[in-house]
């Protein structure tokens, strides 16, 4: 099979604030803005960022739980964003989701066996025997005893419930599992068990994961590649090792520096990044991170920085660290980043950098 398993192109989601029949323009929350990435079979892509950065909205868009404002989500080359209800139903088999809260995401009135076989019964009729065999098989896959199938969620521990959530996602043999903060609500010792389970399943079944998390320790442990989001946009997308060894975007740098490290001998030199995440209703002009950024220059306040491919296969959106002035075409192709996104700044459409820069610098020079 050619091409990536899952491909996301220029995905955008705006939520209107109220309905304005008489108003000409309704204010919108720009939850996700022009997000593109791809996921290969058997790969783990992590999406990190803080609350309100749009990472959960991306998960919901991938599952088509909400419809995108613009952009495409391709699985094996088919755009699911444009599918009608019936066609979408069958594509859902390919992609399943594991949720954060193992308490509210399981129906308290169904037994464990019913919960994990329900997705399959959406598609085909199962005999009692088949259902029993399927439930036992799925429970074994997630490291639980088949006898547990008659238990109710309230009779299980948090870790066991999260295993059920994973078994339910596995029931349809998906090629991609989207895990939205799937280990965040668990204690560390249980978290380790679930992370191990996910790693094992990936090795055995070749499942791709889109793993959404705010915990950089977890992300570093399981990710092949990492996308860092800030206020609806990807600011850096890099192979995991490169990203943690040398973050390029100042926000990635701040995020990694802020994460507490379980080592009392480590001396924290740098002061934590100042300020807070701005509102997505009224995001700052230019680069959304500029009000908190120690490197910000004039241009950051005006232009949205495009994602620029770097030599080590990462893409970074930063005027200072990754200036977009000269992008070798080869590099751009080597990055594997969707050409649509690159073409925008290559052709200059939407980014009249040169002119705006001149406008800003003139009055200053005149003042001197």
């Amino acid at each position: 099979m050619n091409g990536p398993l899952l491909k996301v192109e220029n995905l955008t989601k705006h939520y209107p604030l109220g309905s304005g029949i008489f108003k000409k323009s309704i204010p919108v929350i720009r939850a996700v803005e022009d997000v593109s990435f791809s996921v290969e079979a058997g790969e783990t892509l992590c999406i990190v960022g803080e609350s309100g950065c749009g990472k959960s909205t991306v998960a919901r868009l991938l599952m088509r739980l909400v419809a995108p404002t613009a952009g495409r989500v391709l699985i094996d080359g088919t755009d699911i964003a444009g599918l009608k209800k019936d066609a979408l139903h069958s594509w859902r088999r390919r992609m399943q989701m594991v949720f954060q809260d193992p308490y509210s995401s399981l129906n308290p009135r169904l037994t464990a066996g019913q919960i994990i076989t329900e997705p399959v019964e959406n598609f085909e009729r199962l005999s009692r025997k088949q259902r029993h065999a399927l439930a036992a098989d799925l429970l074994r896959k997630v490291g639980m005893s088949p006898e547990m199938m008659h238990r109710l969620p309230s009779e299980l521990s948090g870790g066991q419930r999260q295993r059920l959530g994973i078994a339910r996602a596995l029931s349809l043999n998906p090629s991609v599992i989207i895990a939205d903060e799937a280990v965040s609500a668990l204690d560390v010792s249980v978290q380790a068990q679930i992370l191990n389970l996910l790693l094992d399943l990936q090795q055995q079944m070749g499942i791709a994961f889109v793993f959404i998390s705010h915990d950089l320790g977890v992300v570093e442990h399981i990710a092949h590649r990492v996308a860092v989001m800030y206020l609806g946009r990807i600011v850096e997308l890099a192979p995991s090792e490169a990203l943690f060894a040398k973050p390029v975007h100042p926000y990635t740098e701040a995020l990694i520096a802020a994460a507490p490290v379980p080592d009392p001998m480590r001396v924290r030199l740098e002061a934590p990044v100042e300020g807070e995440v701005p509102s997505p209703i009224n995001p700052p002009k230019g680069c959304a991170f500029h009000p908190r950024c120690p490197l910000a220059v004039e241009r950051c306040r005006i232009d949205v920085p495009p994602l620029v491919p770097m030599a080590d296969g990462r893409v970074v959106a930063c005027h200072v660290r990754a200036p977009a002035t000269d992008i070798p075409g080869q590099l751009a192709e080597a990055s594997g980043y969707p050409p649509a996104s690159l073409a925008r700044f290559r052709s200059g459409i939407g980014y009249p950098k040169a002119q705006i820069l001149r406008q800003v610098q003139h009055p200053r020079e005149a003042g001197d």
Binding site: E50, S189, A192, A271, V273
Partner: protein, 335 residues
Amino acid sequence: MLMRESIEEDVLLDIRDLETHFYGEESVTRALGGISFQVKKGETLGVVGESGCGKSVTALSILRLLPKLSARTVGGEIRFHGRDILELSDREMRKIRGDQIAMIFQEPMTSLNPVYTVGHQIAEAVQIHTKASRSVAMEKAEEMLRLVRIADPERRVNNYPHELSGGMRQRAMIAIALACSPELLIADEPTTALDVTIQAQILRLIVDLKERTGTAVMFITHDLGVVAETCQRVIVMYAGRIVEQANVIDLFARPAHPYTQGLMRSVPDRRRGRQRRLPEIPGIVPNLREPIVGCSFAPRCPFAIDICRDKTPILRDVGSSHAAACWRAEEVMGV
């Protein structure tokens, strides 16, 4: 004798054999099974453990904020400045609470009153414990907001909690807690609900303020990273008991209890390599409604031998200022 007294003088809070039970319809949960520890003046003591280990119950027991109908402290002493606060009247306890011992909680939104401005809520704390007039208390409120580094405090005193971000609300909570210059601040997971960059700011703030005011801090958290960055001494709790107690450097360098060791190993760490299986702690925590024979960690412990299943280990010294409740602590440390 002299020696002994000078050591005792440093002790702010001295807890001995504290036992707290929760009462259900047909069962009793032994949430705290007799714990003893001290908080010294001006130190930061970390209390770590996983859900249900009793760390929050310890805090609520100290402040006597347990739900009256379902929970009771059934044994032990909590000596604050040498006086057992379990014997104080409710009235006397109210004088201590918020004035000498203050607390901040995990959820800043639910612990602030939504119908009053933050300035009002800080001033209220000041007025309850001092004879300050309204205007003096409001000035103090503004000063406190400046102390916790909220930008534009003149304007922010008149804001309601919903007008503040999560990080600012937690700053406001800290301002209320510190308004009366308490000698002990109990912080129960104060940064768990916050984003990492905001968490880093709040941790820095708590450490700075502690150094400036000399307040002792009891820092309750599940996050070993937070402990490593903020605490001087650490207590590790498991199933309602203290299993290890040490200064932070010794604890991380040579954990003496298998549970502490397991906890540290199960945290993903780049120094041990990516994409590998993490060492797990097998099994689940014991049910505290049933009596536990022997060491409560024995069923999950790779070191367990016969004695562990029969006799409960007591907390004993395994080094200078390092104690563990494990029959095989020396072997655990050697590994």
